[in-house]
């Protein structure tokens, strides 16, 4: 069944209209339905959906001497004339583009696709109804909370049917879902007369999890309360614990480029064998992780997904390739083709993006650091950074950093007073063993959590630079 119950198979219909078009070509298509509920406080302000989007991108590979012309055009025009126009535009583009691959080659048929947990069955059955029930549960979880309400929020659910066809015989189809949630929780009242505090949660996952709401709402409210009384952090080089929510804002933005053939082609990828962290550090790209945001049966040009160790024992062990970059670099694809940009891997809209190698779900191997409480105890004195305004990771330099929206001082091995404001940042990886998050990794927790495009435990970093206006300074232990 398609995303809306109708026979869709968009890419196959478009492929049928290509007639005798010279290969290699591929058609990547998505047909999606999006549903949204927007809250203003606990009141439903707006209900949107179905938002129906059906579009495709045609890629053509054309050889010009020793380079390859890659023509790409995306469109929502599905008529015969519309497809013909799309092909014509792609041919024009192919004449002027150049890519240093020796062969024009696309994946061949992958055989029966493996199935993965990427589709929420409740959303597949009745997305509008499931979303309605979820929001009712969300509103219910705030009942009786005298000092906290959502100031606004939205929950979006997308069910997308992805189809892919190419001139080498690939004809693949899968259906997947994604939920995007955003909620600002305001804490107010109380005897101290402070202005309201806010915790602003955003997150995405493949399914609705109403059963998790009571605990999550309690945590969000606790964060909003703490934001009210938070003070600026001190300045200095501190031991810092970064939970999965913060790592999700840093790792994919850097690893999704730095560990790929696109970076290697431009001499910006780390050499295989380079030491980037302690022997305890291992990072895997896993496109098969159940419910992973980056999990799909095939990559976005038709190669089956797999899992690939990127850092093993602290050393760079592999990079990620799509078909074209693999060809240019004399290696084979790792099934890591993705469409869309770092900010726009949204199901339903991926067809708009060009193909490039990128990460799927970044998995940081659990360590021996134990529970988060044990990591805090090991930190002794330092900071727990709960949320950064925007970590804005810079893929080429690996620099990241931003304002601390909420955190906690760690004193005597325990979480102490909340902090807010100031900045924390640094490099994810540094040349020649210079200071960086990976190099200064002291311990990884033992309990990984799936959070957007990462599956990671909290990490204890020996030293990160913090700039705050709080009194005093602090310095990490050597």
């Amino acid at each position: 069944m398609s995303a809306d119950g109708a026979p869709a198979d968009t890419a196959f219909r478009v492929a049928d209209r290509l007639g005798g078009l010279e290969g290699p070509w591929d058609v990547f298509a998505e047909r999606s339905r999006l549903y949204e509920i927007h809250l203003n406080g606990l009141r439903v302000e707006m209900v949107r959906g179905p938002i129906r989007l059906e579009g495709y991108g045609i890629r053509l590979l054309r050889r010009h001497g020793d380079v390859l012309g890659v023509g790409f055009q995306a469109s929502t025009e599905l008529s015969a004339d519309g497809v013909a126009r799309t092909v014509s535009e792609a041919e024009t583009v192919a004449r002027w583009s150049e890519f240093p691959a020796p062969k024009a080659q696309l994946p061949t048929a992958p055989g029966p696709l493996r199935t993965f947990d990427i589709l929420d069955p409740t959303l597949e059955r009745d997305a509008a109804g499931a979303l309605d029930a979820y929001v009712a549960a969300l509103r219910g979880a705030f009942e009786g909370k005298a000092d906290a309400v959502p100031s606004f929020g939205s929950v979006k659910a997308i069910v997308a049917e992805t189809t892919l066809a190419n001139s080498s015989g690939v004809a693949a189809r899968y259906v997947h879902s994604m939920v995007e949630e955003e909620l600002a929780i305001k804490s107010f009242g109380g005897p101290e007369g402070r202005p309201p505090g806010e915790y602003w949660y955003t997150g995405s996952e493949r399914r609705l999890r109403p059963e998790a709401l009571p605990d999550r709402v309690e945590q969000w409210i606790r964060c909003a309360r703490d934001a009210r009384r938070a003070a600026s952090p001190p300045s200095g080089n501190l031991r810092v614990v970064l939970p999965p929510e913060v790592l999700e804002a840093i790792l994919p933005g850097v690893i999704g480029f730095k560990f790929t053939g696109a970076a290697q082609l431009r001499h910006m990828a780390p050499e295989i064998g380079t030491t980037v962290g302690p022997a305890s550090l291992s990072v895997v790209d896993d496109g098969t992780l159940p419910w992973g945001a980056g999990t799909t049966p095939i990559d976005d040009e038709g190669t089956p997904r797999g899992s690939r160790p990127l850092i093993t024992g602290g050393q760079v062990s592999a990079l990620l390739y799509d078909q074209l970059h693999a060809g240019a670099l004399g290696t084979t694809t790792t099934g890591s083709a993705r469409r869309g940009s770092y900010f726009h891997h949204v199901p339903g809209r991926r067809y708009m993006g060009r193909v490039a190698p990128s990460s799927s779900t970044t998995v940081v191997a659990p360590g021996t650091g134990g529970t988060e409480a044990e990591l805090i105890e090991a930190a002794g004195d330092g900071l727990w950074v709960q949320q950064i305004g925007w970590a804005s990771p810079e893929a080429a330099t690996t620099a990241f950093g931003g304002e601390i929206r909420l955190g906690y001082r760690i004193r005597g091995g325990k979480l102490a007073e909340p902090i807010r404001g100031g900045t924390v940042g640094g490099l994810l990886m540094a040349p020649n063993g210079g200071p960086s998050l990976f190099h200064d990794l002291e311990a990884a927790g033992s309990r990984p959590v799936l959070c957007g495009e990462v599956y990671t435990p909290a990490l204890l970093v020996r030293s990160m630079t913090v700039a705050g206006a709080g009194s005093g300074t602090a310095t990490a232990a050597p």
Binding site: H38, G41, V47, R48, P50, I51, R52, L53, V70, Q73, A74, S75, T76, E77, T86, E89, V93, W96, S97, E98, F99, P100, S151, F152, K186, P195, P196, E198, W200, T202, S204, L265, R266, H267, M268, A328, F343, M352, R354, W390, E394, A396, T397, T398, F400, G401, G402, E403, R420, G422, T423, V424, G425, P431, N432, T465, V466, A467, G468, A469
Partner: protein, 464 residues
């Protein structure tokens, strides 16, 4: 060339069908297409950006808005929309009107330029970017460069049941260069970009001198010192001051946040928040500016709205609903990223009006501190009133003079304290409007212009 107004008959029929069941309904139709070209040392990438077309229908049930959208204009898509909206209206109170004034504006602006970049053709665009690439790569120490240009034609047509019909078509053009320097394993990048509404003339902003300067700075960053940390005097360059206007202050003036009682600015409307020489506006009516609109996506004309007038916080940005609830008028700031995205209060071009201090005077006045240059990102905090601005590099200010180049850093602190600490703004000759993309919450990225000149204040600086 096809025109969205070709579908007017179908859209009007759709509205007439819904009219007996609702006090208000509207159609927003959009078509967008464009092209992007990028040249680096290994590849020339050209891609036509999506031909994206479709429409959204929004209707008022008496209690809330409901909306559907489809990426097609055919009879089947329109019939499905009528059925879906009709289902949503079945349980509502069809006679109760939505809050705020419904637009009755009728107008048309087909602002296609005399020299559209579309007409250049892919070959000429590639040739231009090859030249930009060569300019940058000619700088010693630059090992890679990405030269890029893109254009997008955006056509929008708004109709509603109160008679409004607003058509607009604009072409947005952008050009940029990203030089990369690598030495001893250390990588540094810099970038320059410029954009606006218009045609081929916008590409002229990318001169050889700009491309080379951008590349020279990237190379110099390899030996840049770490930034200073802590509270200090800061001079923002025009792009950073512009980002402050948008991210740090502007988001707090979006009045949907007032309705949610979520803006730290709401309680101080009417109060002095900065020095009397400080004026800050949102202006969607600036010809050719990146964030300008002829009409917003509720059918209200784009306009200039003063937010801070000589130091006093005097205004906010409204859609119909916030205007009704707060006793104001819509300000032409209701925008959709595209027909797939909701309409809500967004900025257009948000500007700090320039003053009369030269950069030398501001640096002298600062005495000790840092000049923040080349903005790279910003993040809003409308509830807490904190700020985050990240820049690619800067220069130390010591004894009233610019000294060492320092690497990327972030500025943070309280927006209100920053405003109160402003001691001078730069001259109009340094004023610029940048071409940015703004997300609000989780996504909904759209074109916004941010404007400013140099600005001296005090804030917390740290690594980024």
């Amino acid at each position: 060339m096809p025109d969205l107004r070709d579908h007017e008959h179908e859209f009007q029929r759709l509205l007439r069908t819904l009219e007996p069941r609702t006090a208000f309904a509207e159609v927003f139709a959009q078509r967008r297409e464009g092209e992007s070209v990028s040249v680096d040392s290994k590849s020339v990438t050209a891609a036509k950006s999506p031909q994206l077309g479709g429409f959204a229908v929004r209707a008022w049930t008496g209690q809330r808005w409901i909306e559907t959208a489809a990426s097609a204009f055919d009879a089947g898509a329109i019939a499905a929309t009528i059925e879906e909206i009709g289902r949503g209206l079945a349980h509502g109170d069809g006679s109760s009107p939505p809050p705020g004034p419904s637009s009755t504006t009728v107008g048309s602006h087909d602002a296609m330029p005399s020299r559209p970049v579309r007409d250049l053709g892919t070959d000429r665009l590639v040739a231009l970017e090859r030249e930009v690439f060569r300019w940058s790569m000619s700088v010693p120490g630059i090992v890679e460069t990405q030269a890029l240009a893109d254009w997008a034609d955006d056509e929008r047509y708004y109709l509603n049941t109160t008679g409004s019909r607003c058509y607009q078509r604009v072409s947005r053009v952008r050009t940029g260069v990203v030089p990369i320097a690598i030495e001893n394993g250390r990588t540094e990048i810099n970038f320059y970009d410029s954009g606006g509404i218009g045609g081929e003339e916008i590409l002229g902003a990318m001169t050889e001198e700009r491309a080379r300067q951008t590349a020279e700075t990237a190379h110099a960053l390899l030996t840049a010192k770490p930034p200073p940390t802590g509270p200090m005097n800061v001079v923002l360059d025009p792009g950073v001051a512009a980002t402050f206007a948008h991210e740090s202050f502007g988001h707090g003036t979006e009045a949907d946040q007032f309705v949610r009682q979520r803006s730290y600015l709401q309680p101080i409307l009417g109060q002095m928040v900065g020095p009397d020489f400080l004026t800050l506006v949102d202006d969607g009516s600036i010809p050719g500016a990146w964030g300008s609109v002829y009409f917003d996506d509720e059918g209200h004309p784009g306009q200039r709205t003063t937010l801070i007038d000589h130091g006093r916080f005097v205004g906010a940005l409204h859609d119909r609903e916030s205007a009704a609830l707060l006793g104001a008028a819509p300000t032409g700031n209701t925008r959709r990223a595209d027909f797939l995205s909701r309409a809500f209060v967004r900025m257009t071009n948000t500007l700090v009006v320039p003053g009369d201090w030269s950069l030398d005077e501001l640096v002298r006045e600062a005495g000790e501190g840092v000049l923040l240059e080349r903005w790279s990102s910003g993040m809003e905090d409308p509830a807490g009133g904190q700020m985050q601005l990240k820049v690619q590099y800067g220069h130390r200010i010591e004894h009233g003079r610019l000294t060492d180049l320092v690497s990327s850093m972030a500025l943070s602190g309280s927006v209100l304290e920053f405003l109160r600490s402003i001691r001078g703004t730069g001259p109009s000759r340094s004023f610029e409007i940048t071409a940015g993309m703004c997300g609000k919450g989780h996504g909904d990225y759209l074109n916004v212009g941010d404007g400013g000149s140099y600005l001296l204040s005090r804030a917390l600086v740290g690594p980024a």
